[in-house]
């Protein structure tokens, strides 16, 4: 081992060494920070899930709990480390004591200690448990407004009188009880007997919530409780697995975080690879000279391995240190976003894991450039150019091992073998696609006759044998496509979950508006409200195959067994797009007796429906044959009405129908509006979702901040790496500048050629990256996250513009110094 040689090599390639170390640092920072933070976020999500459901374990039934389940629950309640709270929720008519008015309300009787998790905030700021005493009621603000009552006055529930003592200002459980008719009234469970509303013949949601101190016991308790349930009647679930609408968002958020960490790792790897490759390319000549002087291939490899090891060690140290520092600052960064109880901070495990992951990434991405050292032939000293090519013997085996190792790493990060393998397969396919694309884009360049000399020179120099164009473009395009993918996926997550709760989202839904009430209703609400016709029907068969209702009903979530709401209209809704079919109802006339129907993608998937399939509906006793004419998708969330089956107006106009109205009402006018509607049209039921919207919006906003932070962190890291790798390849272009000057070109010409060459390079990489990123993001959104995809072309093109500016200006900047200096100095150094 020659220490002097090592030291001199290191000194001679300072800038590339710095870039390499920077990449190692970035990859470790992001791995350490994201991994430990992801754990904290998961903790936060678990806590949100509990807050949403009010306990760790929820037992639910519409009947009194069966004896075995009740006994098990009672036994658990007696154990140390387990708290239990029971609730009874039902609808009833709340009345003013003077009998002047009454209101359909949602009553929730709760035991002391409710909620075990989450909050019920009161307008007075007092503690919920302390305020809710027997004989007292805590009500929603809208109840006071609609019954014209005030805090301190009395309310009749059943035959008992209650004093209203406070107003609910926020309930963290609200998003789970989404569709609630009527405002909330909390009473103490001790008043149940006095109210006499819960007995045989009542419809009540019985719930028992458990708080389990030892989180590890939750699953086994759930399992033992589930053993005791009456099938189809009683339900026991853990808060984290309970099927809430917000759950999918949580899952997607965690997955996105994992994705970002993998992406950042890959980006950093690309950075390492390109900086090292650039360094070695620059050293190629000295390697050849060394080889001519008798140094063996393994001598070079040994020293460079050590060099990379030293650089990696420096990078690792700095990376872990900065990662922990960054992670510590999350506490301040996300103050108020994460629950207070969560202790942020890296553990020794994070550090070790970070080092382990770092070694794998470094090993994989430096293997290829390093393995080329051995292949440098002494003859290279006489050649002006030459690419050592891939290592021949055992090379592919090693690459294969590397890929397997990397796949393991990705699987570990994504915590799912199948998805991890899909992902790695996808990434490899993308790299292959990029290489092919670059080849396809470069090929025509050689055949095009270009008149302008600078442009011709620029184009030809890209194609010159031995030029690293292909490598540079593939590297750049890969990095760029990863960056764009992060951006696009983040944007689509945001669009699906966050932007679908905009300030102007409807907050009052009106059901059961009759056909002859349409006009009156519209006049009454005095606004432009779209009314959606609803025709109830069952789907009898698909292409003659009867729907197996028994089997369908067993499916989790939605099924084809239920009655559907059909509607008619001639155009797409604002948030809809056609995914299949040229128009909503097709242009071709259908056979007699057949009508066209446009199907929403989600129900199309449920029943494997395709264009041209024949669906048989039963509309309240009357069969209707319809042919699928198009498949629609939608990009808004649950606060917007949507319909699985849309028909042309003329085909369903005569069918019995009611209308559904979605209104946006100002908060202050909400109660008045509900009263006005119900007084004029007592049959219309109103569902006020403003509280739900606010509560959901809060959670989404909070988590979106976290998403945005990590996406921008990753994008920033990626941009730094991108800059570094462009910088690392500047040597190759420097040489060109010198040759042009030697051949008599003036600075302006050289600049022109450089500008054009860099422009072509940037456009090529950017073009490939856009194609790949769009395809990749579409796949991720569609298949892994299961959300609608919006291509966002404008920001994508903006990113292309930015890349072009970056590559061109960096390319030009790095050659400016040469333009100003005499070429002879450079030549003297190089030859």
């Amino acid at each position: 081992m020659n220490v002097r040689f090592l030291f001199r090599e290191l000194q001679h390639s300072k800038s590339q060494a710095v870039v390499f170390v920077l990449c190692v640092i970035l990859s470790l920072v992001s791995i350490v920070a994201i991994n430990s933070f992801r754990r904290d976020v998961r903790q936060s999500i678990v806590s949100d899930a509990r807050g949403l459901h009010g306990g760790d374990i929820i037992a639910h039934s519409h009947y009194d709990f069966s004896q075995p389940l009740q006994q098990e629950l009672d036994a658990l309640a007696g154990q140390a480390g387990i708290e239990r709270v029971r609730t009874w929720e039902f609808y009833s008519v709340a009345r003013r004591e003077d009998g002047r008015d009454s209101l359909f309300s949602n009553i929730k009787a709760v035991e002391q200690g409710y909620p075990l998790y989450g909050v019920v905030e009161l307008a007075s700021g007092r503690d919920f448990s302390a305020v809710l005493q027997p004989g007292k009621a805590i009500v929603a603000a809208s109840l006071l407004q609609r019954l014209d009552l005030a805090v301190g006055e009395r309310l009749l529930l059943g035959e008992s009188s209650f004093q209203i003592v406070d107003v609910v200002s926020r309930e963290s459980l609200r998003p789970v009880d989404f569709f609630n008719f009527g405002p909330r009234i909390f009473v103490s469970a001790g008043d149940l007997a006095r109210m006499d509303l819960v007995k045989k013949g009542s419809r009540v949601n019985f719930e028992t919530l458990l708080k389990v101190a030892a989180a590890g016991r939750i699953d086994s308790i759930v399992a033992s409780l589930q053993d005791k349930t009456v099938f189809g009647q009683e339900r026991v679930a853990a808060a984290t697995t309970a099927n809430s609408r917000v759950k999918r968002f949580f899952d997607n958020l965690l997955f996105f975080l994992s994705l970002v960490s993998v992406f950042t790792m890959l980006l950093a790897g690309i950075g390492m690879q390109s900086s090292l490759a650039a360094l070695l390319r620059q050293k190629e000549k000295s390697f050849a000279i060394l080889r001519s002087l008798g140094a063996t291939g393994s001598f070079l490899l040994r020293h460079y391995l050590l060099l990379v090891f030293i650089l990696s060690a420096i990078g690792c140290g700095l990376g872990i240190f900065s990662g922990l520092l960054l992670e510590k600052s999350f506490t301040r960064l996300f103050a108020g976003l994460l629950p207070d109880k969560i202790v942020l901070g890296g553990t020794l495990f994070d550090v070790l894991e970070g080092i382990g992951l770092g070694i794998v990434v470094i090993g994989f991405f430096t293997f290829l450039p390093l393995s080329r050292i051995k292949n440098v032939k002494p003859a290279a000293v006489f050649r002006k150019e030459g690419d050592p090519g891939l290592p021949a013997r055992g090379g592919s085996v090693l690459i294969g091992c590397g890929v397997i190792l990397l796949a393991g790493l990705v699987v570990r990060q994504l915590e799912d073998v199948r998805i991890g393998l899909y992902f790695i397969g996808g990434v490899l396919a993308l790299i292959a696609v990029i290489s092919v694309l670059v080849g396809a884009m470069l090929a025509p360049l050689s055949r095009i006759v270009i008149a302008a000399l600078p442009l011709r020179q620029a184009a030809r120099s890209l194609l010159r044998p031995g030029n690293a164009t292909r490598t540079i473009v593939v590297t750049l395009a890969s990095a760029l496509s990863v960056l764009m993918t992060i951006y696009l996926v983040e944007d689509n997550l945001h669009g699906t979950y966050i932007a679908s709760y905009p300030a102007d989202a409807p907050n009052l839904f009106c059901l059961d508006i009759q056909k002859d009430q349409q006009q009156g209703f519209l006049e009454l609400v005095g606004e432009e409200v779209e009314l959606f016709p609803i025709i109830r029907a069952r789907l009898s068969s698909i292409n003659g195959k009867m729907i197996n209702r028994r089997e369908e009903a067993r499916k989790r979530g939605d099924s084809l067994a239920r009655e559907f709401n059909l509607t008619y209209r001639e155009q797409l809704l604002e948030d809809e797009l056609l995914v299949k079919g040229g128009s909503l109802f097709g242009k071709e006339p259908l056979q007699k007796g057949m009508v066209p129907v446009s199907v929403l993608d989600s129900v199309a998937e449920m029943g494997d429906m395709r264009i041209g399939d024949v669906l048989l509906f039963n509309i309240q006793g009357v069969p209707l044959q319809a042919e699928v004419s198009s498949i629609r998708s939608r990009n808004k969330s649950m606060l917007y009405p949507f319909f699985y089956f849309v028909f042309p107006e003329k085909n369903l106009q005569a069918a019995p129908q009611t209308f559904f109205g979605a209104l946006k009402v100002e908060k202050e006018k909400m109660s008045q509006m509900e009263n006005t509607i119900v007084n004029s049209f007592p049959n219309i039921s109103t569902i006020n979702v403003s509280e739900t919207a606010v509560e959901l919006g809060k959670i989404m906003q909070k988590l979106s901040t976290i998403i945005n932070f990590f996406a921008s962190f990753s994008i920033l890291a990626g941009a730094l790496i991108l800059i570094s790798s462009v910088y690392a390849t500047r040597m190759a272009r420097m040489k060109e500048a010198v040759y042009y000057k030697v051949l008599g070109a003036d600075s302006r010409f050289v600049l022109q050629v450089f500008f054009l060459e860099n422009l072509l390079l940037a456009l090529l990489s950017g073009g490939c990256a856009i194609l790949v990123a769009q395809a990749g993001s579409w796949g991720l959104c569609r298949f892994l996250l299961d959300i609608a995809y919006d291509a966002n072309w404008l920001p994508t093109l903006l990113m292309l513009g930015l890349t072009v500016c970056l590559v061109v200006s960096l390319g030009l900047l790095s050659s400016l110094s040469i333009l100003r200096q005499k070429p002879v100095r450079f030549l003297r150094e190089q030859l």
Binding site: R203, Q514, R538, R550, A553, R562, G621, P623
Partner: protein
Amino acid sequence: MAKAFFVVMFIICMSVSGCNREPDVAAQEPGEPMKTIVAVGDSLTAGYGLDESEGYPALLEEKLQAAGHKYRVINGGVSGETSSGTLSRMEWILTLEPDIVILETGANDGLRGVDPRLAEKNLRQMLQILREKDVVVVLAGMKMVWNMGPEYVAAFNRIYPELADDFDVVFLPFFLEGVATQSQLNLGDGIHPNSQGYKKITENIYPYVLEAIERREG
């Protein structure tokens, strides 16, 4: 089986121009015209969560035909429908040319706390229309869940017997007699009968339907 029969016996064409229907007479046996019972109602009639063949209209049809009554029973139930909805589709129901209508509606009015007077007004109008069209009616009475409060429950439960008296219709006092609150006869939601529940309902309603047939056939 019942469904297949239903489809064959009641092929109705929907033309592209709208919902025009022509009863298919080809499938009927000559000389023995099949009469029509339309079961009008909400999810309790529609057979929420079950196959149509398990709902009471299908079971009733089977039972009637087994006993030699040439009647088909059309399931005209719409889940979630209130009495206002039922009233506004009376015209549609009448196009089915029913000989007998089993009218079961109003439960959703009660479950949503709609003023019982509205349900009564709607039912009164429906009964009036059916009387004018000379349709024999079996009125299925409904009782409201107790948690709505004694005052509301009393006001609601009064509607059906009063209307039955006023219109002299065949009256089944409580559609869910012996089924409501029985967990083994209902789905997990505690309110919709399961297939066992519908067997019981069919047994309950059968004598009243026979009475209606008697009235129809004079």
